[in-house]
């Protein structure tokens, strides 16, 4: 019961934080996604024609939503947890009888909340440009939940190791963005030469984007079961790493 209240408190604190700065957290993704739709969908997309049996705009919508979810889940936890370290208000939790798993779950839950809320905003914006079909709503819900949890965990681990604000922008810039752009958001990996198709198989975002696209359009470049196994593997691994780091007090306790 106490742990449930503590978890709810961390979640509340995290949600209050990103809602308090909504101009920085909720508005930019809506603007960015509108620009993507205008440029890649309307202007360039109309010349590309069909992809995977769907017009280009419909094809990229799930990928763009997933890209936004990934970015926001990651950056929410990375910046919030690092700020808590930097301002030392993480000590509020460390001195309290809050189990480590509750701290991890609370921050990850906060990252998921922002990722999913921004995903909903972006989905709403996309309705202005394209009709969205839903093939399997459960696949959509499962994929978006697990993917946001995976990247929220990634953001948490990044923040645990970070010593400066620069350190929480390096991974998103040099790892996350390239992986996302090369993760099949804008194209079907079946269009790539065999070698690059093979390389794409080691990019976890390919599985997430394709599982999500399957939920909307019913098409995927990868097997859906494999996609969920890959996501499950990453979530388990990252959760274990985050728990070990928090338990040892890495970057938190001297």
């Amino acid at each position: 019961m106490n742990n449930a209240i503590a978890l709810k408190s961390i979640l509340t604190k995290e949600i209050q934080r990103f809602l308090r700065i909504w101009v920085q957290t909720l508005v930019p993704p809506a603007i960015t996604i509108s620009l993507y739709f205008v440029i890649f969908g309307t202007l360039i997309g109309s010349r590309i024609g069909e992809m995977g049996g769907f017009d280009y705009m419909s094809f990229i919508v799930p990928g763009l939503i997933m890209m936004t979810v990934i970015t926001n889940s990651y950056s929410n936890v990375a910046s919030s947890f690092f700020s808590a370290k930097w301002q030392r208000n993480i000590e509020e939790m460390l001195v309290a009888p809050v189990p480590n798993w509750v701290i991890v779950a609370g921050y990850v839950g906060g990252g998921m909340a922002r990722g999913i809320l921004v995903g909903l905003i972006v989905t709403t914006v996309s309705l202005l440009f394209v009709d969205i079909k839903i093939h399997n709503v459960w696949v959509i819900i499962a994929t978006v939940s697990l993917t946001s949890a995976t990247f929220a965990l990634g953001g948490l681990i990044n923040a645990i190791f970070a010593n400066s604000f620069d350190d929480i922008s390096i991974i998103p810039t040099f790892v996350l963005t390239p992986l996302t752009y090369l993760g099949g958001v804008f194209y079907s990996i079946s269009l790539l030469p065999d070698f690059w198709q093979g390389v794409s198989q080691i990019n976890p975002i390919v599985y997430m984007v394709n599982a999500f696209r399957y939920g909307f359009l019913g098409i995927s470049d990868v097997n859906i079961v494999t996609a969920f196994l890959v996501i499950g593997f990453f979530i388990t691994t990252l959760f274990t790493i985050a728990m070990v780091l928090i338990s040892k007090g890495i970057g938190l306790r001297s």
Partner: protein, 314 residues
Amino acid sequence: MSHALEINSLKKTYKGGFQALKGIDLTVEKGDFFALLGPNGAGKSTTIGVITSLVNKSQGQVKVFGYDIDSDLEKAKSFIGLVPQEFNFNQFEPLMHILVNQAGYYGVERKVAIERAEKYLKKLELWDKRNDAARMLSGGMKRRLMIARALMHEPQILILDEPTAGVDIEVRRAMWDFLRELNRQGITIILTTHYLEEAEMLCRNIAIINDGEIVENTSMKALLAQLDGETFVLDLSPHDKEVTLKDINYRVNDDHTLEVDLNKNQNLNPIFQQLTEQNINVLSMRNKSNRLEALFVNLVSKKEPKTTSNKQAS
């Protein structure tokens, strides 16, 4: 019967080799108002850090109300309220959010937490600021906010690390009254401070830590009894004749100020008697220096801290 706090052979060596604590033993009884004093870098904050689990100890045992922090950390933590030296709340968060969320970390229901937040914000004169971001508060208000936050789960032991640093005298005195009230309600209070007057006025027992070791651990009364003597400054009424005092070591500073040195076997009565015989009235009287300060300087200077190139904050 368990103590409020029991520390045995506590050692802490930081990465880089600096030994902040060299095996300290300390016991604080339930309901005590306890002062932990020491110069900068002596190990006070490290000790508090270990008790509150913000610092990993290297060796030794810490028990809070009988619960060992190695085996019952969460239970031990639930007894403690911490007011740290540095402001460590989210500067952008409103006061109410800070307090209610903090209570939640201890499992306090939201409804109860809101009632307690109102109680402590009103008590500490912060109620009008409840919806303001913490960064908008003055230094004194921020200190009071940290005290309110530490009380949200109604702890049995309150640890205050320099709670009145940088606070004006009026606010400081109000905080003293509040801390006395909490202690009367049964809360054990451990205080570190640089204001020795504060420790002398508030605390019943005292430990002095220097260079990672406890150099004194006794009652305030017993410690003050160690004083060999005291110097008093007397303000005198206007008089024509020169002041003379028999069997008293004294100095005439000016026409109306007298300094007298008393050893611990002497009392003030002969001085008043002799001045009265000379038709001189004592208008006011004060200690020349803080009594505890003299002892403190003496105790910590007996053993000079070793100098080290990578010394970390205590």
